[in-house]
Symmetry: C2
Subunit: 330 residues, 2 copies
DNA sequence: TAGCAAAATACAACCGATTGCAAAAATCAC
DNA sequence: GTGATTTTTGCAATCGGTTGTATTTTGCTA
């Protein structure tokens, strides 16, 4: 910048104002400086600017996908969420630092915020992090969490309506006459529990020939595959599987088919997320669309509001059922 | 930091040295300062440190997945690559800024580098960016590209051996007696062309009853699905499909099955990438494993070497065939 | 053309760390 | 105990912008 100042014969403060399009500088001067800046390929030094402005124009996104934990590293849901958040942040000229902690004990959240590397933080999922999120103190002002609505949270939550999603699936299964449902997922996770509760709400007070069986599985497809195989080898019969994610549902379909069961004739399968692959397997996967793109936008809008000091409340994104061949084909 | 200095009664320069574990400060003084820092939850201000040290301990990763372009936003390959790079970077205490440009014209590369937001840049894929990468000038010293080895590149390339991957697939198809192969992908992309050439190399000089047909498809699963359907409706017969990615292969299987063709009995299908879902569809997908985890590590190691001023050369990562039911099941 | 307001520019402090060098304190040798 | 070393600490410049305030220039009015 001092180089530009010499070139154009003005003070660096004027150069700075020109580059920031301040109304304080004369139009001609501004044009001249901008032309020089363009010609020399000058780019403002973000490090100096960040220090002075006490901001880094960067948000952080933390996705806990540590091995052996609750989530599978290759679940496309995350990529779609990253893309949605990234593009929403770009609209505000924010960059995005991505952090995928290797272990539950990593403390990237605090570090990113307190060091000023990120102005705010988006955390995807509450699993195993609720206490830590609660302990953020003041820094919680600059954190937004994607997850199911739980009352105990004193941080800001954004998420789809997991209960409603579960309920929609229940209604659909009821509509197509399925009564013996397997719920595949880990209801110890808040989001999954809500989906389960939504599902159950449909059958409240119904006749005794309906049943919902909970089969615990992490978000890892291989585990879901094994669980489903075991289920087929068991004695209980079932005519529908509702999985807590599309990855689990796809694995379940694979397991069912390998056991000679037809989807959806013998067993209807429903997933959750509506990832790209859901439409591209055979049969197509009926699933819940959380509208991840909108979710990402709301996360970013909410976070930027919080950073600006505006109070914000929890937000639900719309949730809808996408019906494909895994429930009504055949 | 000045707060810590007052608390401990020493100069901030001593505090700085203590926090950086400099041998210049007395052991007792150091312990005392560290204890205070811990108690007060102090974190070094990265913005000030970055400015002074002329480095930001941050790498950038650019993934061109703009809509309508060559790649599908939900391709799990990218997520696995992001995870691999992120974890490799973390080992060197680097953070990772992720950039998913919306359009081919975005110039995040230059901005991130020249503004100093990132010390170096990893670009995933050369598609549509070759000229731009060439025009980086000095900044090319801090860029590493994941992609197929092409001679014209004057930037540093890291990638798996795409030719060898294609060759391995060819050998395998030959072994199982398939002769009429459809190659599904866009050979205008350097990586895909190499895979295609590898495949072709197997049949060089063979008898006339073998054929390889190129069906152009972007990396979008929906397009591959339509192309495969059209293929089934065409007159040419084929007994194998080699797709340029697993996402395409999965879509192709879906299309084949929906047309009543059996995989692998009627048509064998091979993918590329070995994403998590490849093992979880029915039948399991035979595919090429690029060892993305290792690839991410090499990308980061190479980039950090370049940043340090060490000359580095292009690197190939190992490539291997993973055989599953989509070619030898049934 | 003087006088005053408005516009444009320059000056200088500041953001919060790092680091070369000077100064002070501690240790050692004799 | 004194001088020479070695440790340890403090001082002050520096990184490269931004911004409040002072100053200069320009433009307008009478």
């Amino acid at each position: 910048m001092s180089g530009l100042a010499k070139l154009s014969g003005v003070d660096i403060s004027t150069v700075s104002r020109a580059l920031n399009d301040s109304p304080l500088v004369n139009g001609k001067t501004k044009d001249h400086i901008l032309k020089l800046a363009h010609e020399t390929g000058y780019a403002i030094n973000a490090r100096a600017r960040n220090l002075r402005k006490q901001s880094s124009q960067t948000l952080g996104i933390v996705i806990p996908v540590y091995p052996g934990s609750h989530q599978n590293l290759s679940d496309p849901f995350f990529l779609e969420m990253i893309a949605a958040v990234s593009q929403a942040a770009a609209k505000f000229d924010y960059d995005l630092i991505i952090n995928l902690p290797n272990s539950p004990s990593e403390i990237a959240e605090r570090r990113l915020l307190l060091s000023g590397k990120a102005d705010g933080l988006i955390v995807i999922g509450q699993a195993g992090r609720i206490e830590r999120l609660r302990s953020l103190g003041d820094a919680a002002d600059r954190v937004v969490v994607w997850g199911g609505m739980i009352e105990a949270a004193d941080y800001t939550l954004v998420g789809s309506d997991n209960f409603e999603g579960g309920r929609l699936v229940g209604e659909h299964l009821k509509d197509i006459g399925r009564h013996r449902v397997v719920f595949l997922g880990d209801i110890d996770l808040p989001e999954v529990e809500l989906r389960y509760n939504g599902l159950m709400s449909v059958w409240n007070g119904d006749s005794a020939d309906t049943s919902v069986k909970h089969v615990r599985s992490s978000f890892d497809g291989h585990e879901a595959y094994r669980q489903t195989l075991a289920l087929c080898e068991g004695t209980e019969s079932f005519d529908a599987v509702f999985a807590a994610s599309d990855v689990l549902a796809i694995a379940a379909i694979h397991a069912l088919q390998s056991k000679g069961l037809r989807v959806p004739e013998d067993v209807a399968v429903v997933g959750y997320d509506n990832i790209g692959q859901a439409a591209m397997i055979s049969p197509g996967l009926t699933t819940i669309d959380q509208n991840i793109k909108l979710g990402g936008e709301i996360l970013v809008n909410t976070l930027i509001d919080k950073i600006a000091g505006n109070p914000v409340r929890a937000t639900l994104t719309p949730t809808k059922l996408v019906i494909r061949g895994s429930t009504v084909g055949g």
